[in-house]
Point group: C2
Chain length 193, copies 2
């Protein structure tokens, strides 16, 4: 089974990675979702779920192969300065492991310079430009709920379904007509003919 | 703080109650979300979150006041026969504590006769009619993503946003124009003018 890591923190936004983790974990996809946090203690989501992480960054040895890092947003990203988190994200970008960030997690990437060398990101948050001053050129912001660009996926917090679609496509879990139908089902409520 | 209970099981569907729990838990709503399960051990969601329940039905004394029971669907409802779960749901219906069930949790309610005396439910699942043979009259099924009827809310698994809207309205967390804007933001991605 190939691993997909989801980075969780206290106050992580329950809905933002909820569609895609459930889909990735279905039998037959070849993927399994594992959570990782700064330490092994329970992390409580915005919605009150007390989640025990599968891995802790305190003793994470980077020997575990993984295919993507998904970073949900939440209430605690604004002042985040944990060096282990920066190291994990830098490791992904250096090794071309795709990173999928949504909502405030995108802002965090901007603030820490991780978006500087990427061409396009979702026009995610009003303060993203402020957060990422080195991020040149307004034309890089695309007015879309989710933007998939090379090894980076960025999305708005209200675009959980679009974010999921882009991840499922990147990991080749669903493609073409199947992907379109999955998206329609969860976005509109039925599969358009 | 008023409590809202979310009944979790192994394989619970991550996205189905994710919008509403995060919204209910925001500062100022007057509500807090607590999870309850058949026992105190970790329950793993479809998407792989290992969740430690706040309460266990094994020693739940029904002294905790709560304003609603939310039941997410998931992979393990089809054969569910736990008597403590039945007792909890029966307690809610007897005491007019609203029950909000989505996806396979609705089917479970039907199978166990809990829908028999309710007028309208979401035309949720192809096998709901089969599951609830005493549930009379096709006209009771409303073709909608979520249906709010007295102390019962039922919804399709692809209608998490509609389900959340109906819960927020029932609990008077959001109303009128505010509720409409919340719904637009999460359903369409922007607030319609």
């Amino acid at each position: 089974m190939k691993n997909v890591l989801v980075l969780i923190k206290d106050g992580f936004a329950d809905w933002e990675a909820s569609y895609v983790t459930a889909e990735l974990n279905k039998p037959g996809t070849g993927y399994q979702v594992k959570t990782i946090a700064t330490d092994q203690s329970q992390k409580t989501s915005m919605g009150g779920l007390n989640v025990v992480p599968d891995y802790s960054l305190q003793d994470f040895r980077y020997e575990l192969p993984f295919e993507m890092l998904i970073i949900p947003g939440g209430t605690e990203w604004k002042e985040e300065r944990n060096q282990q988190i920066e190291k994990l994200i830098a490791f992904c970008f250096s090794n071309e492991i795709p990173v999928a960030a949504i909502c405030d997690a995108t802002t965090y990437l901007g603030k820490h310079g991780f978006l500087d060398h990427h061409k396009h990101t979702a026009n995610s948050l009003p303060y993203l430009k402020e957060a990422a001053p080195n991020y040149q050129g307004e034309e890089r912001y695309i007015d879309a709920q989710s933007v998939s660009d090379g090894s980076l996926i960025t999305a708005n917090g209200s675009g959980a379904v679009e974010f999921s679609r882009d991840i499922l496509e990147k990991l080749k879990v669903l493609e073409g007509e199947d992907l379109r139908q999955w998206y329609d089902l969860f976005k509109v409520g039925f599969v358009k003919s």
